[in-house]
Amino acid sequence: MKICRYATLLALFGLSLGASTARVVTAQRAPAASDATLKAVAAAKAFLATLDGRQRAAVKLELNKNTRSKWSNLPNGATGLGFLRNGIKLGDLSAAQQEAALALVASTLSGPGYQKVMNIVNADENLERSSAPARQTGNRVRFGRAEYQIAILGEPSATEPWMIQFGGHHLAINVTVVAAQNVLTPSHTGAQPSRYSLTGQTIRPLGKENDKGFALINALNAAQQKQAILNYRVADTVLGPGHDGEVIQPEGVRGSNLTANQQAMLLDLINEWVSILNDTAALAKMAEIKSSIADTYFAWSGPTTNGDAAYFRIQGPTVEIEYAPQGGSTDHIHTFYRDPTNDYGAKFIKP
């Protein structure tokens, strides 16, 4: 059964021979990303049309170095101390406007990606409900769905660069749109709680990231683990907000030292972040990452038993991912996803 599963993954990422590579090849050739762009442009215009002048002024901002880098892992209130997110809060929009706002977010993402985003938002709503009763007077920190903000940087266009930002506590979706190209880096996903119940279902917003990370570290042999497992504590993320353009010296086990199955597992793990974006853009990005999988490193710090708190980092020529339990808690996770060559669509935007 296990072999079957990894054979499927190998096929998905084009690591096997034959027809299974078609999906990636098609994505590389297809100019179909412009369909995603057109969909996003239409959704952005539809959302803007629901707003009054004051709301539109809050939502629609100039796209520049300062505006695009305004994102955070922190909740509103905390960020309000010295930092304000771009855009308007969902809580300041009518039901119809919220629907249009979320339709814009959904227009750029995959179905599962949008669901992951909403699972993070719902986790934060859960956190608000559990923490609000004990909140001290004067504490301005607020969690919950109403606090998530949406902004459009630049003019929604099928040809010129623009950007959608949707963020709040534990979430920063930054989608840069440049003609046919859609770029999700840098972005932030997180969760607190990392497991909750909703309408009778157990939701783990970042459960797959966690489980696939543990599966990979446990799929390595002793020699590979010796390379992958760092002999020091990693207390937090290194490349979070405010660290645009930084690339650290890679560490861990190199992709070239992994078997084909392990490479497929690594790609499948990376795909948890990449595939938040719409399918066309995500498949093209995965093909790019696959092409340099031999130069992609996987590093781990902490115990290797699933259920314990462990940090991991994936670093390759066009991808940087960090997964970091906060304060040693498995119930509070931060992750960041970057592309050192293409954050904010740098490859496609002429300076």
Partner: protein, 182 residues
């Protein structure tokens, strides 16, 4: 040499740090250092984020006139005090560090455990072509701190980091690197 340092300081001090926010910390003082290697210098960028439980104590250490805000001189004094507790050796030779710029959060931000102090410093030291070793050790407030230390990928292809070793708490790092002929 002094002129160069003054020039760097006068140029760089005008440039703001990029906007940053950090994780919500509780009882630790997170000290994150990034080292950058160049032929003629070693750069240090340090983010110091006190958790909620230790923030007031750290703020009081810096705000020596107890007026509730960190003045420029108080900030520089703390940053220089911090740098005195950094041990940076290049090929076994101790390097002196020059403070380039600082940025301090408000008391409110620090009290919330989200205020990050940012310090940038430089050691001006020439690395000739060939192999070198660099050692960095952070001895600041090791009674309450969590550490991160990383080397940034060199901006030039003429410098290649060949090895890196840290202690279990990341208070220190030893780097091996090669400077290639131009």
């Amino acid at each position: 040499m002094k002129k160069i340092v003054t020039l760097i300081a006068s140029i760089v001090v005008l440039l703001p740090f990029p906007a940053t926010t950090s994780a919500h910390r509780v009882d630790e003082y997170l000290q994150a250092t990034r080292l950058s290697l160049a032929r003629d210098r070693i750069g240090l960028e340090i983010d110091l984020t006190p958790g909620v439980d230790v923030a007031q104590m750290i703020f009081a250490l810096i705000n020596t006139d107890h007026d509730g805000r960190i003045s420029q001189s108080e900030g520089r004094a703390y940053a220089n005090q911090f740098l005195k507790q950094i041990v940076l050796d290049l090929d076994g030779q101790r390097q002196s560090l020059t403070l380039i710029r600082t940025q301090f959060p408000s008391f409110e931000e620090m009290s919330a455990g989200i205020g990050t102090i940012r310090i940038e410093a430089v050691a001006l030291c020439a690395s000739a072509s060939g192999r070198h070793s660099l050692s960095y050790q952070n001895n600041h407030r090791n009674d309450m701190s969590a550490y991160l230390v990383n080397a940034l990928l060199p901006a030039t292809r003429n410098i290649e980091i060949t090895e890196q070793h840290r202690d279990a708490q990341q208070r220190g790092i030893q780097l091996g690197f090669i400077v290639l002929e131009k």
